[in-house]
């Protein structure tokens, strides 16, 4: 399983998207099994961001799972830390730790708690969970790379609801001001937060304009289009930090979970797990 990324690297542009799409379905199946253990998790946000994470971990990020703290690695921060099951799944499938360990998700004394823990899990750069922490840390990572004269890059995945936290905009302002082209923010724009739609809670639109006005190069993209995500994320920007507003569907991949607010942290029943696995397998 660990050589999937090599296959992606070797694929030509025409095949790469389809290959990443197949891996993303495997990631979703992995997430489903992971959540099914403790009957806890955040499946909606896990599934909406699965394609972005797959593209990053199997296509874009410069990493060495045998040396997780390799100094020249690209930095990845999952700011929406409640979607740990998605991160754990790609980390395990990418070889950072055994896939079998996912069975211990949220179990007593497990390393895999409900939110990523840098002290315990190789590949995790920052402990997230309280929303609004990832981008400032990513900003610091990008400044550190500049200071070190390194061309390594930093990627931060944010929830759209999460953008309601002001700390994001403090970091966005500083990154724009400093022209940190080595920093990429990806907003998982699924338009749902915990209790409601984002636009019914605290309107975010016009979202791309907001980032632009803070000095960012912005791309609005289909967050489930692997080829497009790969092209945009692997390309290096000019003189500005880059933001991908990734249009996604919360719960993407399973019909009865898609775009429904109650699936923020609802857990599928045994029958629903079987239905979901069927849908993911035939896709």
């Amino acid at each position: 399983m660990t050589d999937l990324h090599a296959k992606v690297a070797a694929a030509n542009d025409a095949d790469r998207g389809a290959l990443l799409a197949r891996i993303a379905d495997e990631v979703r199946i992995c997430i489903l099994h992971t959540i099914d253990g403790p009957k806890m998790g955040h499946i909606g946000g896990d599934f909406s961001v699965a394609d972005v994470l797959t593209t990053l971990f199997f296509g874009v990020l410069k990493l060495d799972p045998t040396d997780p703290r390799w100094a020249e690695r690209d930095r990845f921060i999952l700011s929406k830390g409640h979607c740990s099951a998605a991160l754990y799944s790609v980390l395990a499938m990418r070889g950072f730790f055994p896939v079998a360990d996912l069975k211990t998700f949220m179990a007593p004394l497990s390393a895999l708690n409900g939110h990523p823990n840098r002290r315990k899990i190789p590949g995790v750069e920052a402990n997230t969970g309280p929303l609004g922490h990832g981008l400032p840390i990513g900003l610091g990572c990008a400044i550190a790379a500049r200071l070190a004269g390194s061309d390594r890059r930093t990627f931060v995945v944010l929830g759209d609801g999460e953008l309601q936290e002001g700390s994001n905009w403090e970091a966005a302002m500083a990154a724009g001001h400093r022209g940190l082209s080595n920093l990429t923010a990806i907003v998982d724009r699924n338009r749902l937060q915990q209790g409601a739609r984002t636009e019914d809670t605290n309107r975010l639109e016009p979202l791309a304009d907001k980032w632009r006005s803070f000095g960012w190069e912005v791309h609005e993209v289909d967050g489930h289009d692997h080829a497009r995500l790969y092209a945009l994320l692997s390309a290096r920007g000019g003189s500005q930090p880059r933001c991908l507003v990734a249009r996604t569907i919360k719960g993407k991949g399973v019909s009865f979970i898609e775009d429904r607010v109650e699936w923020h942290h609802k857990v599928p029943s045994a029958e629903q797990v079987q239905l979901a696995l069927k849908e993911l397998a035939v896709r």
């Binding site: 806890m40 309280p130 609801g161």
Partner: protein
């Protein structure tokens, strides 16, 4: 999350239901009452409140610093905001707003920390609210209330609605046994003596009160007479009750679902050491917790009847 912390073996009641019902009752008679929350209408049990008073439920989105600042502005306008938010993000994220905007301004705002302690056990330290007592105690103008059962939750909320001062209160996530005698009047700043005893005093708050009572049973079986105090108000502390416990029983064990630095145990110790020094044990969470359910973690840290009884026995021996 498992809905019930399994240790108590009597009938249990839900403080969150008491919270939801009392908020509505109070809002019906007092037009000043508003609820302020952070994308947490459901997890704060404010769905029914929102339905009945849509204009008086202010959901600011995922923005806790803004949430507390907004409450200060509402208080300035004559409203009585009940801010309801998961306790770690309310107290930690908006700490400076609570200090400068709420406490320093002396606004009548009631900060309701939902799902406190290690309620979100499996979600890890970011979601545990074990530092809240220490953080809130450092703000000496705040009254800190820790209702132990639904009756106290209702009483604490009703008192808070007219108290005209800044208040922080924990609203427990799990069902708990009733520990308060129905006839007992709720008095802020006064510990309630749930059981008389002569050898040692167990001082507990919130979820730990019923466990302290169970520990007292175990101790009685071993011939040790334990007084049990429910310290519903952590600030201002009932110093008279603490000094009486020290002088009359000679030993004190405190127990709280919180970090042992700066919480109930610290408050009691500060009082004891300056007024009536006696041996003490401070039970609580010693450091950031590992992963596990609430019930698992409470046992893990010895925050159960056996753990409390053993601490008391070590003092008595």
């Amino acid at each position: 999350m498992n809905e019930m912390s399994p240790t108590p073996n009597t009938t249990t009641f839900d403080c969150r239901v008491a919270f939801a019902e009392t908020m509505i009752e109070m809002a019906r008679v007092d037009p000043r009452i508003v609820a302020v929350c952070n994308d947490s209408v459901g997890s704060s049990n404010l769905n029914a409140f929102q339905k009945e008073f849509p204009d008086r439920l202010i959901n600011v989105g995922i923005a806790e610093q803004n949430m507390v600042g907004v409450a200060a502005g509402l208080a300035n306008g004559g409203f009585v905001p009940f801010v309801s938010c998961a306790s770690p993000f309310l107290t930690g994220r908006a700490l400076e707003q609570i200090k400068a905007d709420v406490a320093y301004n002396n606004y009548h705002i009631v900060l309701c920390g939902q799902s406190p302690g290690m309620s979100y056990g499996e979600l890890g330290p970011t979601h545990h609210s074990i530092e809240d007592f220490a953080w809130m105690r450092a703000l000496t103008d705040l009254t800190i209330l820790v209702p132990a059962d639904p009756q106290q939750t209702r009483d604490a909320l009703r008192w808070s609605a007219t108290a005209n001062r800044p208040i922080f209160m924990r609203i427990g996530r799990f069902k708990v046994p009733a520990v308060t005698p129905e006839s007992e009047a709720f008095t802020v700043g006064r510990a309630s003596v749930l059981r008389e005893g002569t050898d040692v005093t167990l001082i507990a708050c919130g979820t730990m009160v019923s466990r302290a009572l169970q520990a007292a049973d175990q101790l009685a079986a071993k011939g040790v007479s334990a007084r049990v105090l429910n310290m519903t108000t952590i600030q201002p502390l009932d110093e008279a009750a603490v000094i009486a416990a020290a002088t009359e029983t000679g030993r004190i064990v405190t127990v709280e679902e919180a970090i042992i630095h700066g919480g109930l145990g610290s408050a009691v110790a500060e009082c004891v050491v300056q007024n009536a020094p006696v041996p003490m044990r401070i039970l609580g969470v010693p450091h950031l917790a590992p992963t596990g359910s609430n019930a698992f973690l409470l046992d893990h840290f010895g925050l159960n009847a056996e753990g409390i009884a053993n601490a008391a026995l070590a003092l008595v021996a």
